[in-house]
């Protein structure tokens, strides 16, 4: 039922900085699950502990475990984890700028047999026709939006079963955000890829997700079905920018500050 379950995860950077403090989440197979939280809450760290990329940053899982298809994976190398079907699209796109668009896609499909390449590439071009026109271009010259498309396209090349998306809307114009989220939804329903979505843009994320978690200071402070989160007054106030009475939030309100503090505690 759950494709992924993270249990009581504790992560320490550089042997001293405790960033995740006993975090647990479950991702249901076939769902889109949103992971929300403010800057520095530990969202990216959570994804990196699932994909195994933590090790390259001198981060370490000191407690807890990650189960994928009921197998513990938190001791595996990232290349092994990708082969199991988990693919992380990292924050900030991270495309290979001095490779062409097509070569970037080739890297995305690195773990797949070579004969799949042209078919997978056509699928990516179907989702992102703009990449097709630019496929011989150096990826460094793509616009920010096109680079985000390439980053997601690269992930599709690997045919993952669980896709970890880290802030796909970062730095994109509202119209493009809508387009990207539409595509994420399609990838989920048409390709049957389970998605764990990290976002700052809480509303957009909760609109396509079925379930959501809210992470503050390395702990989950709230979770539930997406609709119930959207209607939760605290979420509305702190993540959707709507006051409890429907007005814009005001920082002069001391009571508000206390509530906020309780959240961050």
């Amino acid at each position: 039922m759950n494709i992924l379950s993270v249990e009581n995860l504790e992560v320490v950077y550089n042997d001293v900085v405790l960033v995740l403090k006993g975090l647990s989440i479950k991702v249901e197979r076939g769902s889109i699950t949103a992971l929300l939280g403010s800057n520095g809450a530990g969202k990216s760290t959570t994804l990196k502990s699932i994909s195994g990329l933590l090790a390259t940053e001198d981060g370490e899982i000191t407690e807890g475990s990650v189960f994928y298809e009921d197998q513990p994976i938190h001791k595996l190398w990232p290349e092994k984890i990708v082969r199991l079907g988990i693919f992380q699209v990292m924050e900030g796109r991270r495309i290979f700028e001095d490779l062409t668009v097509e070569e970037n896609l080739k890297c995305g499909g690195f773990v797949r047999p070579g004969k799949e390449f042209s078919q997978s590439r056509e699928l990516v071009f179907e989702y992102f026709p703009r990449l097709k026109e630019r496929r011989k271009q150096l990826a460094g010259y793509l616009s920010g939006g096109e680079q985000q498309m390439l980053a997601i396209g690269r992930a599709l090349m690997a045919k993952p079963r669980l896709l970890l998306l880290d802030e796909p809307s970062l730095g994109l114009a509202p119209l493009l955000v809508e387009e990207i989220f539409g595509i994420i939804k399609r990838v989920n329903s048409e390709e049957g890829v389970t998605i764990l979505l990290v976002e700052q843009n809480a509303r957009a994320a909760l609109n396509i997700a079925s379930h959501g978690y809210i992470l503050e200071n390395g702990r989950i402070v709230l979770d539930g079905r997406a609709e119930s989160l959207l209607n939760n007054p605290d979420v509305q106030e702190f993540y959707l920018g709507i006051g409890s009475t429907g007005e814009k939030r005001s920082y002069r309100n001391v009571k508000h500050y206390r509530r906020r503090k309780r959240w961050l505690g």
Binding site: L53, A55, V89, F96, E97, D98, F110, A158
Partner: protein
Amino acid sequence: MEYYLHLVLNGLVIGSIYSLVALGFVIIYKATKVVNFAQGELVMFGAYICFALTVQMGLPFLVSFFMTLIFSVILGLCLERVILRPMIGEPIISVIMVTIGLSTVLKAAIQLFWGTQVRVYPQVLPSEPIWILGLPVAPVYIAAFCLSVVLFVIFSLFFKYSTMGIAMRATAFDQQAAQSMGIGVKNIFAMSWCIAAVVSSIGGIILGNINGITPQLGHLGLKVFPAVILGGLDSLLGAALGGLIIGVLENLSDGLAQQFFGLAGFREVAAYFILVIILMIKPYGLFGTPEIERV
């Protein structure tokens, strides 16, 4: 006139060996962004192993040639496992410092086993010269040149078209992102060091056949710096041409300095003069990739 032609031809041959060694250097740089200060010692390693197999163990040259290549691959794998893997995720500059240490260790080990005197290879190719443009050229020179060209073509195609080659370029650009798509950085490191060790060994063996070998061979690594910087650190074609240009210019200017000023030994510094002049004109080298900047 004949004198100059001769200088140029000799320069081309020495240059093609520089190119080979530069190729190894560029491959490591391309895949891992590490500047390898032990490149010259890899040359030395190959030269001495092949010497030991041919002369000390009496194996036929071709057999020991291929065995040397196998040993180079093993050396590359060991270096990755013992020295480089623990450095994954550390700053590049630390890895570069490690290669400096490595060069000292390799050189010392070789002197320990084989001493410091000149060692000579047995004659492999016939000494009967072949005439090119009315000049006698030793067959070993021609073989050296052809071998270098062939290796270049192979590796250029490898980087341009093979999945592994593309993955190596990707790793060079962004290690962590490459890792996130299942590209094993360990394997890429190992592979680039193996290739570098193999081509350097071939360079060393060729040199052994031309000049004989001494532990001074490691200084070749320093000659390679002008060649690769000239060519642009990350360009294979640049390394090839950079090596040839340095070889020819060095030989010519040495010849001229001797003829007109009676100066000997200009060869040793010529390469750096040339380098400074070219870098003043083209700071990214002749073929290097400038950083992508979108405007």
